[in-house]
């Protein structure tokens, strides 16, 4: 036992030291915020001296991307019940896990079930009694000569256009002929032209070219010896980033025409995409990922502790934050940092029970009054409930989430043999979370990391584990004072302002957007570009759509990073 004990002790000591060091580094981060000068203008182009490229990837399509793509191609009334396996969160984003994900046989069955649902609905003939429209009439550009026989011309017409949208590039003639042949054989076997079409659609929807978003490269004529994404891969990267869905006909046409090969053409297409209502899908997709909202799929509150926090409440909490973000950043084009101090949000009747405010059916814009403790995203139920225990709040989880999600400051994991007894079974005199946490901090092994998280988490103690406001805990008024990296505050409004002005806040967003768009984690080579974009983001008033535009138009979005020499050697050997 002794060696094990020593080993554990050493680990804890090392972890504590690492946390203390990190705390010191974080504390030194507090500096003057960048001065915002020109607002609304385009961010400057990346200077020539800064390396701006990203690796070619092969990414598994996400569930939301799949659903958005199906809705865009076949219509929003196509119902898809799909629950694809979650990606592995990497460097703060699920999107990075998509480049490492595969499709085992069990998962393929899920894709196939979804594909079968979609295919059946695309060719259905409606139902007058159920008042369901005929999808085939709306989606098929032609009618077969006989509905119970094969019709190669009509099949080719439909499959050519649909295949191009699903595969995100034109089908080769050979491939199309193969599909038409398959549709014809199935039509003969099944005695139904549309059933033949459905089998091919189902096959397309589970083909690797649809399920995996592959970056194909070509020689870069402007940089001999290097490669860039081909126009279709660039179109897909653009579209999955800006719309969280596959490119539409207009974007593919721009790829076909060569427009995406020119700076002017790229700018026109990007501006068109940013002006599209589909941008909402892209913005929501990014922040859903960045804020870790996938955890809502498994989030539940103890109904005996929080009877009003039902599954419907939590779903609305997620939706509320996404609506707030999109409205603030895109509809109103406001400063990203002000998301953390805004009192404007959206309210639903279900959420009204948590916020204790009246709410009309549906979603309505809502303004918390001055003096209200609801200030910014940190005080929304999504953050407060997501980062808490099922039946109580958690200053540690909230502080950790704030550090990691919003400031990109990783907090080390606790040692494996951490003793929670002091926290889980507190003495009666420890009536508030602050008392319990302070007791916990008497252990120097714990204190190192908890000093990073808990002081800011304690500022949110006016909200219980469900996100409901409370003035006191067990009869004791809650003390919400604290400090964030040297900035002191006395209440939640002070914490929100400290986060809003934290110098790491904009840079963290830029880093996340950059990674999300390119599908690769930021490393040392990317730092100059990220720093440049962060500075430009600040100079232009922290307008999020401008940041998205700057990133997708920068070379990093289409220039391909050459493999490291070791990788080249390995690739050559395997070839």
């Amino acid at each position: 036992m002794k060696p094990v004990f020593r080993s554990a002790q050493l680990f804890r000591t090392a972890a504590s030291a690492a946390c203390l060091l990190l705390g010191a580094v974080l504390a030194s981060c507090s500096g003057a915020e960048p001065v915002a000068e020109p607002k609304g203008a385009e961010l400057a182009a990346v200077p020539a001296g800064i390396e701006a490229s990203s690796p070619a990837q092969r990414r598994l399509i996400t569930e939301q991307q799949y659903l958005n793509t199906v809705a865009n191609i076949f219509g929003k009334d196509i119902e898809v019940i799909a629950q694809f396996a979650p990606m592995q969160r990497t460097d703060g984003l699920l999107a990075l896990g998509a480049s490492k994900a595969g499709v085992p046989s069990g998962e393929l069955q899920k894709f196939q079930r979804a594909a079968r649902q979609v295919a059946a609905q695309v060719v259905d003939n409606g139902n007058l009694e159920l008042r369901l429209a005929s999808h085939r009439d709306a989606l098929m550009p032609c009618k077969p000569a006989a509905a119970d026989k094969a019709d190669a011309a009509c099949a080719a017409m439909f499959l050519r256009s649909t295949g191009r949208l699903l595969y995100r590039r034109p089908l080769s003639d050979a491939r199309l002929a193969q599909m038409v042949d398959q549709a014809g054989k199935s039509a003969v076997q099944l005695g139904d032209f549309y059933a033949g079409i459905a089998t091919v659609i189902e096959g397309m929807l589970i083909s690797p070219e649809v399920l995996f978003i592959e970056d194909r490269t070509e020689p870069d004529p402007e940089h001999p010896g290097r490669r860039r994404l081909d126009a279709y891969s660039y179109a897909s990267r653009l579209s999955f980033f800006l719309w969280n869905a596959a490119p539409d006909d207009r974007v593919l046409k721009a790829a076909e025409s060569g427009e995406l090969d020119t700076a002017k053409g790229r700018a026109r297409v990007v501006d068109m995409m940013i002006a599209s209502p589909r941008l909402e899908g892209g913005v929501r997709g990014f922040f859903d990922d960045m804020l870790g909202f996938d955890s809502f799929a498994n989030l539940a509150k103890d109904p005996s502790a929080y009877p009003s926090e039902t599954g419907a409440t939590l779903a609305d909490a997620r939706e509320q934050t996404l609506r707030t973000i999109y409205d603030h950043l895109v509809t109103k084009k406001l400063d990203y940092r002000d998301l953390f101090t805004t009192r404007t949000t959206f309210m639903s009747p279900t959420l009204g029970t948590i916020y204790r405010v009246p709410a009309k059916p549906g979603w309505t814009e809502y303004q918390f009054p001055e003096g209200s403790p609801r200030v910014g995203l940190l005080t929304q139920v999504s953050f407060l409930a997501q980062h808490a225990h099922p039946a109580r709040s958690s200053p540690t989880r909230r502080g950790k989430a704030l550090r990691e999600l919003l400031l990109c400051q990783p907090v080390p994991l606790p040692p494996p043999n951490v003793d929670f007894s002091a926290l889980e079974n507190p003495k009666a005199e420890h009536r508030t979370q602050r008392d319990r946490v302070n007791f916990h901090l008497q252990n120097p092994v714990c204190a190192g990391c908890h000093k990073i998280t808990d002081p800011i988490g304690l500022a949110l103690e006016n909200f219980d584990g469900a996100g409901i406001y409370r003035r006191s805990e067990r009869g004791v008024d809650i003390d919400a004072s604290g400090a964030l990296d040297g900035k002191g505050f006395t209440d939640i409004a002070g914490l929100s302002l400290a986060v809003r002005n934290h110098p790491s806040l904009p840079g963290c967003l830029v880093r996340r957007v950059y990674s999300y768009g390119t599908g690769a984690a930021v490393d040392a080579r990317d730092k100059p570009l990220v720093d440049f974009l962060t500075a430009e983001f600040g100079r232009h008033g922290y307008r999020f759509p401008d940041l998205m535009r700057a990133i997708v138009l920068s070379p990093v979005f289409y220039d391909v990073t050459p493999p490291a020499p070791a990788e080249q050697k390995s690739a050559a050997a395997s070839n």
């Binding site: 009877p307 039902t310 009747p349 029970t353 709410a359 009309k360 059916p361």
Partner: protein
């Protein structure tokens, strides 16, 4: 209501109730609603009946044994045509006759205790006293009629169950109370109370069976104006006490049938909490309306659950009606009653240009309760 409970269970319940009352009293103690306004929504309605575990105190002769099945069997022991048996029996309920004597005995409440209010301000010999013995002169003749009918004795009796199932599942019967000009939820000598019909579903927890406070409710501004009623009141020791208003219509429903309850001289006594309220709406209910709503919205099948025979009930209802005589016949048209209402807090959303608190509606009957007593 008294039940045989184990000593332990009773102790636990008493302790829990004491804790609840204490916590609720603390919560209400210093509570002043924002802008002097607080809304409630009714989640449960129940015609108040004072019950004891063995029925002896209130029903000396026992509970009514002659339900539809029992009466039918006695009336038609040898069967007969559908017209002469089933249809004849149904017609007796649909076209009741108060003039002819009942062929079956009907057991009325014989006890002296009842819930309710002293509606006429007098203490008559046949009035009830409150279960705690503190209040005399309680007028609740409806209880005298229904108190020994199993179907109308909740929780076992199914009538209240189905009425409240309708509250959960339907929206026609959404009753809102809004208190305005409230300076204190403990003591306030003048508050305004307005009753509305709401539009939205009730808010429940994840189980779907527990109503939650804090929801929002729109007022029915299209079809709900007839249900808007204004009361003047006061709050005494946390209890809202309103003055009576001449005529109030309460939206009601049972078995998907939108109906109404019609009250003369309704007044309320409701214990208020920030998150909930519990109390009574008492007055003289229109006999014909009550009969058709309560008895005829149930099928014979449901009436048979608890020996509730419409034709028999009607005769006693008419006999015990104690207010609002018909000017032509002199027969009373209304009966004193007490309706328990359980509520949770809700935010009431007023639409621009929506209904305003109406002046108390005038009674459709010229007589007053005091005139006929």
């Amino acid at each position: 209501m008294t039940h045989k409970l184990s000593r332990t269970l009773r102790a636990v319940l008493l302790a829990g109730a004491a804790a609840f009352i204490s916590a609720a009293a603390m919560a209400a103690e210093d509570y002043v609603p924002e802008n002097g306004t607080i809304g409630y929504i009714v989640t449960d309605f129940e015609w108040q009946v004072y019950l004891t575990a063995d029925n002896k105190e209130e029903c000396a002769a026992g509970l009514n044994p002659w339900g539809p099945r029992e009466q039918f069997k006695a009336l038609y022991p040898n069967g007969g045509s559908v017209k002469d048996t089933h249809m004849a029996f149904e017609i007796a309920g649909w076209f009741p006759n108060a003039e002819t004597p009942d062929k079956f005995p009907f057991y009325e409440v014989t006890g002296k205790k009842s819930y309710g209010l002293n509606l006429d301000g007098k203490v008559d010999a046949d009035d009830f006293v409150s279960p705690d013995g503190k209040t005399a002169g309680i007028d609740n003749e409806l209880y005298r009629v229904i108190g020994c009918i199993v179907n109308l004795r909740p929780p076992e009796g199914a009538t209240a169950f189905y009425a409240n199932k309708a509250v959960m599942e339907e929206r026609w019967n959404r009753v809102l109370l809004e208190l305005t000009n409230v300076d204190s939820m403990t003591d306030d000598d003048s508050v305004d109370v307005t009753m509305y019909r709401g539009l939205d579903n009730l808010l429940t927890d994840a189980t779907g069976s527990k109503y939650l406070p804090g929801g929002s409710m729109r007022i029915d501004t299209k079809w709900g104006n007839k249900y808007v009623q204004h009361f003047k009141g006061k709050i005494v020791d946390g209890t809202l006490i309103t003055e009576p208003v001449p005529y109030t219509v309460v939206p009601w429903s049972s078995f998907q049938l939108p109906t109404e309850q019609k009250f003369h001289d309704m007044r309320m006594q409701i214990k208020l909490q920030p998150d909930s309220a519990l109390g009574i709406m008492a007055g003289y209910v229109d006999v014909e309306n009550w009969y058709w709503q309560t008895v005829k919205s149930e099928s014979t099948h449901h009436q048979s659950y608890g020996q509730s025979t419409p034709s028999s009930i009607y005769k006693v209802l008419r006999k015990r009606a104690d207010a609002y005589p018909d000017p032509k016949t002199g027969r009373n048209t209304a009966i004193s009653a007490s309706l328990q209402a359980k509520m949770v807090q809700t935010f009431i959303i007023h639409a621009p240009g929506g209904p305003v608190a109406m002046a108390p509606a005038s009674s459709p009957k010229p007589a007053t309760a005091s005139q006929q007593r």
